[in-house]
Every structure is written in structure tokens, then in C-alpha cells.
Amino acid sequence: MNPHARRWLHHATQPQWLFPALLLLVLGALWGVVFHLLDVERATEERAAAVLTGELVETYEAQVVRAFREIDQTLKFVQFTHASMRQPKDLLRTMNERGILPPEILFAVSITDPSGKVVESNKADVPPNLAVQDYFIVHRERPDDNLFIGQPLKGLTGDALLHFTRPLRAPDGSFAGVVLISVSADYLVSGYEVDKLGRQGMLGVVGLDGFYRVSRIGNLVLSGQKVDYSSLVGKTDPDKADSVRMDIGLDGIRRYTSARELFDFPVAVVVGVSEDEQLTLFDQHRRSYLLRTSLASLALAIVFAILGRMTWQLARARERETLATVEHAQRVEYLAFHDGLTGLPNRSLFSKLLVQGIHQSHRYNRQLAVLFLDLDRFKAINDTLGHDAGDELLREVALRLKGCLRESDTVARLGGDEFVVLLSELSEDKYAANVAQKILVATAKPFVLLGNEFTVTASVGIATYPQDGTDEQTLTKNADIAMYHAKEQGKNNYQFFSTSLGSDVFSRMALEGSLRHALARNEFELHYQPKRNFQDGRISGVEALLRWNHPDLGLVEPLQFISIAEETGLIVPIGKWVLKEACRQSVAWQALGLPPVPISVNLTPRQFFDTPLLAELKSILASTGMAPQLLELEITEGLLLHDVEKSKRVLVELRRLGVRIAVDDFGVGYSSLATLQRFPIDTVKIDRSFIRDAAEKSGNETLTAAIIAMGRSLSLNIVAQGVETKAQADYLRDRACDEMQGFYFDTPAPGDRLASLLKDQAGDPSPVPPSDGLLEE
């Protein structure tokens, strides 16, 4: 079936068309049948009426013939007897006694003489002379002895009378009078039965002369009407039983009419039944049928309407259901491929799109780029402000990212704060860089979260097809590596993949993994770098430095893992461990009888701003038995300046504990004297960049001097970091630096090594010269 036909068929069977159509069909069939039945019934009734008429006329004919014959028999008897009697006398009386006369109640029998005088009669009220009557004249004139049926005449009582006469002959054959039988005309129609003929049926006897001798319609009896005999009776064929015609009677009523001429007598009998009456039954039937059919039609219509409506509703419900199911399925599919929070494609969808993109690029010889990015300070915000703020941030980031892209590009969220961008149809290399730049700009714009402004930055790694990989896994891996490189490069930048990056980032990713377990596996160790007094060169304190004994990589420097620790938050438990260990170590040294030296521990920003810090410190001091004033916490100048108010509060609290505060990497933060004064600090450690410049006799040297002077003016203990040359050492000594720290003097060493150093020092009061030997160790 061709699609047009199929579609038409589908349309046509919709409930709103189907049911009315079916209804019409059924009704059409029903009414068709009913009308047919009515037609058939009408025809049957008509036929029945015709048949009835035929039967009635036959019966009537027989009755009239019998009546006539009986009358005529009597007349013939009288005629015969009279002819055989020479002096006929009391003929009728004799006949009466013998019971040969017709019933007196109906029939008057009379005999006349040739002059018309009534000689004998069975009735008393017969006129005395009948000479003037038509029948008398006829018989007197005519030579035959035949029966004559005259016109109906009004009798004495006013009713029409029929006269049947025969002539009487004398023995010599001469006219001797007439014998007459008269009967009321209505005798001939007294057999009218309403049951058969109805109230408008017709019985009649019409003479060959066209005059009705008598006719009866219902109860109305008439005589003498004139009709056209030949048209009424027509050619009678005795064999033709049913010559029934529709005739409009003299009263205007249509009747099934049948007329038959009698064989022996000069009349025809006529029977008619009214069409209306005969078909009354049919009419009633018709009305009843029509009524019932109408009711049935109505019922059908209602039923169809209900059914149709139900079907329609069912169809609609099913449609709705289907739609809902489809929608649901679509929704499920959407969710399967889209991130719920941001609405961006998720990892699975992105994977698909990337594979597709690779195929397309391969086919059309184009480039594409994959950009991995994550948000640099997302975790901080998420932890500090709560997940709702974090979610909001992610949503906003998603929007901004989308705004950086074309229609053909895709951005997806891989999870957490990681996003990936697919740039398909790369027309030129620069485009990827442009997009990366746009992303950085977009993400660097402040976000408003919980009513406050926050900034995050992004690190973006870029891998391009086909240079950086030809399949999904390679491209994504390399983009990821490039991103990590961007992070290592200080974040808030983008980096293209290059093959040299591979191992570095692998190690970085591996590091993070192992770092998580490092603490539990006791892979950490503290090394201590001595700080020496400029005056006598003796060890005046140590700085605790974290070392990591990686099972595979060996000893790992903080530079390599501290940033990971900071970002992942692992710094907090690690830092806690460092503090504890440092305190323990210090107490252990003192237990050995060694003179107490202050021990410095670095605090990272995360540690510093970590709320439980004070409580932790307190408990560590208590549990280790460490004297607070022997513990110095080092924080960078940059950290202090990041949030001045908060930093001050924390420092105040720390001071209250009794621990000492040192500002590390001093000088690079551009803090003023005034700011510094606000902080409760004890020590200032000059950033190594100044120390490096110190002996150079360059412009920076003045800067260094100024910084030292500043520290002096604040009455702070001044430590020079990173002293590596004698020249530097001399310079600083001249400037009245208090302490120094650096490779020139010592390398960081484990606790027991320090212990022996301190022990030696304790036993030897002389100043310690700068020793190159130490360097060798």
C-alpha cells in the first residue's frame, strides 16, 4: 500500500471520523432495511387487498346469483303453474301453505291479470293496479317469457324496491298478466360485513344499462346511480380471477374494485374495498416501524456517541501515555548523557562526540582540539562556602564556557570542577589558543556567590588532532597532561601538549595518588636546617623541613608535593603531623640533655586559615610537652597580606598560646611598615632573592639594606634565608642581621644528625667557623 493511501487510511480510522461514519452506515442500513420492509409490506398489503377484493366479489357474485335464482325459481314456478291452470286461483296461497314462497318478511309476491289488476298477493299493502309500471309494459309488449329486473322504485315506505317480473301466459299463449316479486333493494347488500369490507367498502349491483340497482357503502344504501358500465365492468373474463383495479368511486374514495357480470342475469356485481382502510393496518405498522426505528436510531446514535467518545478518550489517553513514555525515555536518555547540575554533556556523551569528531576530522582532513580545564581554587570555595555555592559556581562557569564557543564546539563537564571542550573543525592552530584565552578571561571575571565576589582561575591544557593523538584515549590523556602542566606553571594559564611533558605530569598524577597514602604509611620525615647566629656562628635554631620517602621515587622535595598537598587539602593532616613531629623531636633533643633550640615549622595558607589550627596546636603542645616559646610558626608575607584582618586575628591567638611567629619570604610582598606593625610577629626572614642580590652591589642591594633596617626598626629578629656565599654572609653580618640560614652553612639533616651537631656544639663553646665540610655531608 502506498504511503498516501496508508496515511489516508490512518486518518480515516480516527475515532472522530470512524464512529460517525460507522453510525451513518449502520443507520443507513437500518433505515434501508426498514423502508424495504415497509415497501414489501405495502406491496403485500396491496396484493392482499386485491386478493381480498377478488375473493369478496366471488362470494358476492355467488350470493347475488343465488338470491336471483331463488327469486327467479319462484317466478318460473308461478309462470309454469299459471300456464297449466285454466282458472288459476289462490295460487299463491297454495304455494304459501306449501312453503314454496320466499319469506314473507322480505318478499312481496303478486300476480296480476292482463289488465294489471293485482289478483293475488302475499302482502296487503300492494298497489291494486300495476299497469303503469315499466315491467308490466315491457312484458305486455315483449313476446318472450324472460325475467325482467326493473329500475329500483320507491316503495310506499320510501325505500327503494327491486322488482323481478315474468309474464304470465294464457294457455293459448296470450299475455295474461305478470308475476312480480319485489324486495327491498337493500336486501341485495344486506350481506355487507364491516369486518371484511371496512366502513368504506362498497357492494353494489349494477344493471347492464349502467344504473345501480343498489349500492352500499358502510351503512349507506343508495339506488339508481348511473355509471359507465363498460368502464366499470370491462370485459369480464370468467377465467380471470383477479381483475382488480383501483377505482375512484362516486364518493371520491379510492377503492380496490372488482366487478363481474352475472352469467344468467342482466347485472354485474361490484365489490370495492377502500385503499385507506385496507392499508390502515399497513399504516399502523408503518408508524410503529418508523417510531421503533427512530428510537433504535436514537439509541444507536447515543451508543455510538458514547463508544466513539470512549474510544477517542482512550486513544487520547494512549497518546498521552505514549508521549509521556517517549518524554520519559528522552529524559532518561538526556540524563544519561548530560550533567544534571549544569546541563552540559557528561563524560559518556563527550566521549561519543569526540569519537565522532575524530572520524569527521579524519574524513575531511581537518584538525580538532581537546581542551581540558579545571578551576584552580574550586575546592577552597566549595569547602568554605558550602556545596550550594560550589554548585552555583559550576553552573555559572558552564554558562561562561559556553559563551566562549561556537555552535560547532562542545563543552562538557567531566565531574568535580573538571571541564573539557571539544573544538571541532579547527581551521587554524590559533583558534585553539584564542578559545583558551577567552576561557581564561571568562573564568577570571569575578563570580557573585552568597552575595560576595569571588575569583577563581582556570588551568587549561590543549591537545590537537592529529598531532597530539589520533584516538580518543590519547587525545584526552594528552590534554589532561597539558592541563597539569598549566597548573604547574602557576595556574591561570593555558598550555599546549608537548611530548616532553609526558613523564613530569605522570609523576605528578602519581604523586597525588601516593601522597594520599603517604601519611598512613609513615613515609614522611622531618629534616632540620640549622639557623646560625651571625655573631658566634652557633646554631640558634632549626627549621623543620618536610621530606617524603616515596617508595619508588625516593626522597621527594617539598617543592614537588607541597602544592599538591595544599590543593588537595592533604596539607592539613600532613601539617598536623609535621607540627607534632617537630615538637616531639624538640622534646626528644631536650631529653637527651641537649640545650633547647627553637624549632620553626612552615605553615601553608591552608593550614593557617584552617579553623581547628589553634585547638590542634594546643593539644599538640600539651601532648608532646613542648614549650610554646620554643615553637616558631613560619608564614609567608604574601599569606599575611592576603587577608590582613583574618591573619591578624589568627596571629593574636597563636601568640596567646605562646608560640612565636616568623614572617617568611619577607620583602617580596610590598608590605609597608605600618602593616607590619599591626601584626604580632617575632621574626622576619628575608626572602632569598634579596640575599642573592645582597653582595652584588647592585641597585637591589639598597633594597635589601632597607628591608633589614625596617626589620630592625620593628625590633624583630632578622633571619637571612638562602645564604650561600661568603660574600653574602659578610654583607649580612655587617648589616647586623641576627641569624642566617642557608647552604653556606648547613644542609638540612635528619633529627639524629642534628642531635649530634648540637651535642658537639654543646661540648665546644668556641665559635663555629663556616664549614665547607658540612656541605659534603
Partner: protein, 144 residues
Amino acid sequence: MKLTGKFLSLALVFGLGTHTGTADAAVVAVVSAKSGISTLSENELTDIFLGRLNRLAGGELVSPVDQPEDAAVREEFYLKFGGKSQAQLKAHWSKVIFTGRGKPPKRVANSAEVKKHVNDNPNAIGYIDSADVDSSVKVLQIGK
């Protein structure tokens, strides 16, 4: 059929003139004194005289006998039993005779003839003035 002029005058006479013993004379149905029939219901009597019934429930044959058409007693009889006028009677016999379904009762000239007839014919039933009842006839009890 309408009443004959003669009867009309007779009726007038009866109506206007003094009512003799026969004025609202009770017409009675009679049978032979020797007849075994003594009671009939009105319906039975009517049916017999209308030619519808010629045998009683007990199996006895019955045949009616009429008086002449102009007899007052006749008119009374048919009015009293069955409520038929002479015109109605005539119409009845017209139909019956025409359709060949019966014949009218034998007719005799007067009450005396009726009595004579019933005596000669034990099956016969006739009607006479109650004044004319004698021992030769038995009056039938006509129930409703």
C-alpha cells in the same frame, strides 16, 4: 324498514285510547302444555327466534313460530325479549336469508293459530298475549 302505516295507526290507538287489558299487556312465550320445556334464558329465546338456535342444551329440538308483521304482540315480543325493533328484525333476516344461513320462523295468523300450532308441534315455541293463555299452552319462564 319503517313501520307500516297501518301499524302506526294501531299504535296510536293503543297509545291514545284506553289501555285494554292488553295495553301494556305482557306478551308471553308459550309451548305446548305437553312440552317438556318449561324455562329458557332470554338469550336462548332470542336466539331461537333469530334462527341461531334450534336445539337446546338438553338436546331438545325447538322451532319458533311467528305472528304476522303487523301484529302488536309480535312487536312487543321482540322488544321485550332481545330489544329488537321490527326494522332491526327485518335487517337481520335480510342478511341471514341473503347469505343463506337460515330461514325465518313459520308464520301463523294470530294467537289462536299459535296455540293450535304449538299443540300440534311439541317442539314449537310461540308468543301470545298473556290474556290469551289457556290450559292448552304452558307459559315459559324466561330468565335473564
